[in-house]
Symmetry: C2
Subunit: 348 residues, 2 copies
């Protein structure tokens, strides 16, 4: 069967899981009609709460995601899981324990699990799942490099997972990760060394989130060359990431697994964002949309330009700048000219 974008979108919106899987494949493989599909689905989105869950390999974040999904299902919420981490059991490399846990989720039509090999299409996949009507979209990513920035952009609440007992080799608490955390989870909190991890995170949190008075002092120093801090800034920054201890193993019970605390922290963050003055929330959303539109415009313009450049032109320009035969300014002017001339004959 060959789908058209409108018919596939209609099937996704009617709740077909097969259509959903196919739609996600379109987006992931950049099917020629995927842009049309995403555009058709777009008006139906905006309801799901997107939670990013990120952490180093070995922190047990897949188990945490599974446990979180089970708890959400018990509350009657529908859940989509998107695993971007190539080491995640969801993407294939499951060890036995994980397979057993995942079986807890399979066969439940209120849960949909999808893995992706690369993070390029993350935003599009989330939008498809959002339009398909899931209450929550849980996005699991390995916390490293660019992916943590991507997840912080795509997710409304970002949970950073740390764990003790992996040995200090793997367990590098990356400073950059802390800066994107809305919620911090110390998983495997029943293991030796958990309190050390909690202490280290708390110390880093205090450095990153000084008390209100201190923050204003810092603002003064840091913002000298920018505008003075506004009331809005202060209120927006009042969220300090809560730190929760979790034990996402099959043996743990709802009384001691901390999953309730984690969900509670996520929901408090959601309330913090959505119960803020509506106008402020709207402004924040507009800023995000403007950023996305400008990013897309810039990509589209650059793609056009690079396609219009005769082969080797960019490399030659780099050579000229490196040998100081041409300034960066002149190199750019000549690249713009080359692209313009190359595009002219075709009337582009």
């Amino acid at each position: 069967m060959t789908d058209s974008a409108p018919s596939l979108a209609a099937a996704v919106l009617s709740g077909s899981r097969r259509a959903l899987a196919r739609a996600l494949t379109w987006v992931e493989n950049e099917h020629p009609d995927s842009a049309a599909l995403l555009s058709t689905l777009y008006p139906h989105g905006g309801r799901a709460w997107v939670v990013g869950i990120t952490g180093a390999p070995g922190t047990g974040k897949s188990s945490l995601v599974t446990a979180l999904a089970l708890r959400l299902r018990q509350q009657g919420e529908t859940v989509a899981i998107l695993a971007v981490d190539p080491t995640s059991p969801f993407t294939g490399g499951a060890i036995l324990g994980d397979r057993i846990r995942m079986r807890d989720l399979s066969g439940d039509s209120g849960v949909f699990i999808r893995s992706m090999a690369t993070r390029g299409s993350l935003g599009g996949l989330i939008r498809v799942l959002d339009a398909a009507g899931f209450d929550r979209v849980l996005v699991e990513t390995v916390g490293a490099g660019q992916s943590e920035v991507d997840i912080a952009r795509a997710a409304q609440t970002t949970v950073v997972v740390e764990a003790p007992g992996l040995g200090d080799d793997v367990q590098a608490i990356k400073a950059g990760i802390l800066e994107i955390a809305d919620v911090l989870a110390v998983n495997k909190a029943d293991r030796a060394g958990a309190e050390n991890t909690v202490r280290a995170l708390r110390a880093m949190l205090e450095l990153g989130h000084p008390t209100q008075r201190n923050r204003m002092v810092n603002h003064h120093g840091q913002r000298m060359s920018a505008e003075a801090p506004t009331q809005d800034d202060h209120e927006a920054e009042l969220w300090v990431p809560p730190l929760v201890r979790t034990v996402a193993t099959r043996e743990a019970t709802p009384e001691n697994d901390g999953i309730g605390d984690l969900l509670d922290a996520i929901d408090r963050h959601r309330a913090h964002l959505t119960h803020a003055d509506g106008d402020k929330l709207r402004q924040r959303q507009r800023g995000r949309i403007e950023g996305e539109l400008l990013d897309r415009l810039s990509h589209a313009l650059m793609a056009r330009l690079l396609a219009a450049l005769p082969a080797g032109t960019l490399e030659a320009a780099i050579d000229d700048v490196q040998s100081r035969q041409r300034s960066p300014h002149h190199a750019v002017q000549s690249l713009l000219d080359s692209a313009g001339k190359a595009a002219q004959p075709n009337g582009v």
Copy 2:
């Protein structure tokens, strides 16, 4: 006297300090001919070693810069100082002690001091000073927000300055700053609490720069979705920022002020970069140039597009996306169309 770009450039290259000051003003004020000036000067640059010195207000980085400049002068090197920090005494707000120290530098034709109000033209100012023939360009910036990223891009060696005894309010060791440090200086090392600061920095350094074996384990986890780490990556990452203690006060002597250690650390970093296999260095430089050219191209294209857009078009597109009447993809297509149509009649 009205200068032309070629005559001003010639005067700068002949060593005129007045011409240099005027050229910097052109660049800072975005004089219509500043691009031509920079292009004329560009072939004469590439010799200076650019050292960024960044840290929170109160860490004493201005005194450190002064002490470093004096030491370099004693070695016979010429020095340009560029202060971007609005709290720096170089930019005006000097307290008495700083004025006295600065007097040590004034009247020496081998030193040139310039402050700038904003960081927008940083790259251009550095290029002018480079072309003017200084052996070293020291760039002082307040370590916060975007400016630390800018300095890390513009400088060849970045020194991050911390200090004890300011109270924990101002003295937040920003995690992001550590990631750009090639050299760490704990200034005011004679004060109480200095060892605590050194210990905290060392702990953060160890988290950020695990030992070689550990790094490879991390690489494995972090790079799963990207290409495998190359030999090149491993060698390039072998630099671990040295931590030096400095006491940049008038009372300190060359024997105990640590300035020699700081200079030594900077020069070891320089040797690390330049004595690497020439081909590797060349590749790194090409990457930097390519990044700059693509950035400039993107800016030029976006500026053209935004200028061509009828007033209110972007705001209307954001409205449509926010109300989900239009997908981001469609909004971008229509913005590109609007800009194209608006540009057509004028033949742009």
